[in-house]
Symmetry: C2
Subunit: 408 residues, 2 copies
């Protein structure tokens, strides 16, 4: 074994270096980029479009407090005791019923596994499917915390370009020539771009995947938040043999309680994911599962979601109107039909990252595009969140951003 390496820390303590002990997986995992930015943007004077926080209007606080009182009274120690790995059967049944009714699926409780937020679903799937150097297809750009979760298993990423219509299916077919274990998609109001795959694009992807032994993950945290147009059918859910659909209560009830779920009709796959879940945290917080289930069965979720959607639509519109007014020509942006984000493309060659310090000086923050790509730096894109500021503030923030953009 190696001898201990001790260095003197600023506080006078001996800090032992850990470099030589670290796994290849953690070394391959990108540092916590966004959290760093959020810290820089935590100054309350800053108008932040950097976060991904739902508006507090989405937390039904009074109703949840009522439900807390009820479940403690009715279920007593069961809401505080250890529980089963798959999750509260009543909550799983509720989820199955809702998806069956809304999307014509044929789910039972056996098709649902409750996770500690959707983020855990990404971690579990990577654990179950990936060995080092296995292939993973992702959107270009894609959700940065998915890159983080998958990186722990050291896969090879094959990014496929995303545009207004959806995924580039030519690139997709080429990517499938590699040893690919799964493909990760966010077809509705994608994070970070706000884009939605078209019906035709979905159909084409289905055709490409239908005879292949590859898992399709459809991550759908924002699907309930469509404020424009009609819901489009899932690509694989209910139809592809290796389909996984991810959902969450983070955007409709509360993100702080970390309650998400995996849906799959492939119960064999789900069984392995469940073993990984048991090894990872035994089970998801059972109090929160009872709480959310009780809330859902005592209130009209759709009426609650309608309020959230109305607000987000107003906020998105305010941001787009302000961009039309204040952004110089040559700056483009996506027009989301739902969700929480939109995506700005600057003129070729302009690094959004290089604008970030200037924006902070003017007390406005965004996320430069870099962390949403595999191994790309100084890209000319940025993500803006519109759900967590009022329309007045959004307008002022975009005005400030416009001033910076006019200087480039």
């Amino acid at each position: 074994m190696f001898r201990t390496v001790l260095t003197l820390s600023p506080f006078g303590l001996f800090l032992a270096s850990v470099e030589r002990l670290l796994s290849k997986g953690i070394q391959a995992t990108p540092p916590s980029f966004i959290r760093g930015i959020l810290k820089a943007a935590s100054d309350p004077e800053i108008i932040s479009f950097a976060g991904g926080l739902p508006n507090p209007i989405s937390f039904p606080q009074e109703e949840l407090l009522e439900s807390m009182e009820r479940i403690v009274k009715v279920y007593g120690s069961s809401v505080f005791q250890y529980s089963i790995t798959a999750g509260l059967p009543e909550l799983r049944q509720y989820i199955a019923n809702r998806y069956n009714r809304r999307f014509g699926l044929h789910l039972t409780t056996d098709n649902i596994l409750i996770t500690t937020g959707s983020q855990q679903a990404l971690d579990l799937i990577a654990k179950v499917l990936l060995d080092a150097r296995d292939g993973v297809i992702v959107e270009k750009p894609t959700y940065l915390a998915a890159i983080q979760a998958f990186s722990l298993q050291q896969p090879v990423f094959y990014p496929v370009e995303l545009s207004e219509d959806g995924l580039n299916t030519e690139q997709l077919e080429k990517a499938l020539d590699h040893n690919v274990k799964f493909m990760y998609t966010i077809p509705d109001f994608q994070n970070p771009t706000g884009l939605t795959y078209s019906a035709q694009n979905r159909k084409r992807i289905y055709e490409i995947l239908k005879d292949r032994e590859i898992v399709l993950i459809e991550d759908d945290p924002y699907g309930e938040l469509r404020f424009d147009g009609e819901h489009l059918p899932y690509i694989g859910a209910g139809r592809l043999p290796y389909s996984i659909l991810l959902g969450t209560f983070s955007k409709t009830v509360t993100p702080g309680m970390r309650t998400g779920f995996i849906i799959s009709e492939n119960t064999e796959l789900l069984k392995h994911i469940s073993i990984a879940k048991e090894a990872s945290d035994l089970h998801t917080n059972i109090f929160s599962q009872y709480l959310i289930w009780d809330y859902l069965t005592h209130h009209d979720l759709d009426a609650h979601i309608a309020k959230i959607k109305a607000l987000y639509q107003k906020q998105a519109q305010a941001m787009m109107d302000a961009m039309d007014a204040y952004f110089p020509e040559g700056v483009q942006y996506t027009r989301p039909h739902g969700g929480m984000f939109l995506w700005v493309t600057l003129p070729e060659g302009i690094s959004a990252m290089s604008l970030f310090p200037k924006a902070l000086e003017k007390k406005v923050a965004f996320v430069p595009g870099d962390p949403f790509y595999i191994d790309m730096q100084n890209v000319n894109t940025m993500r803006l969140n519109y759900t967590n500021a009022d329309c007045e503030t959004i307008r002022e923030g975009i005005r400030r951003l416009g001033e910076i953009l006019k200087e480039i």
Copy 2:
């Protein structure tokens, strides 16, 4: 890519086989042994010593409900919103203060990371430190869910025998000749054996480890539950450069809310664990963190723990008295000074596993020793839990078990 393999499931659905998609890690992870047993023992007529459930007396239900009302009122949307990965600063400060006061440590909030139960701590540490075939030293026998969590990273296990005095230090020194990344121990009221390392054994282990670049994990879920004798000093906490101490509120407040914590003075190591945590579930349920913190600061935790300990001591004594009365000669058992379990050793050559079906017939359940060992089957040991049945029931269960043992 492979073609899809479809088989007809009992329900007439086509179930696609996933065998060829599975990672080596999940294939190396033992199936959920105990959960299987618990299912078999879920018949309410069965007297079960198989689980590891704290007694519901340990959940301060009324006080927690009061705290729920208070935190929703005082902190509003903050208890429902996304939060930071490290955990609620106020809760981390409370933990630091308690450990500093009780054990003379010098912790700050920076030394504490809140985890989704202690189980997640095991998963995160394995992610950060282990590549396939790296060495891990464990007790023989050890906590079965630790074997599960570590197995996902495909390490080589080096089990070191545990006896009344603690770890076999000769075997420990030999195990350290291998490429070992960390050593996992439960020095107080070990799961499954109920054994506690002696002061001398701890000192000797410290001496062996002190100049080595190896992480020592002291998992201490039961330390607060000592009902006999004085607390013994930690082996490495506050003294070894690569020390990790694990704690939890599962045995003192509520296990259902999955709130545990990692303590380390090695902030560099903790930084990497925090990145792994962010990739795994972003952060631990923030509502539960506020709740537990509010409960702890409004009530006397020590007085609450005193009640739990008094009950567990009575229950442990009832079990030992019954074993003295009903077990045949040649059957030995450990006498725990705290915690939740004791460990029975049958005469050489008797498989505890083979007795399990007979016990179920007599409506009594235990956990055969097998899943607590690496690659050992039909061992002559079993784990008994005494915290979740009243003394009368414990006596009756042991009487039935005695009848079976007399037949062997």
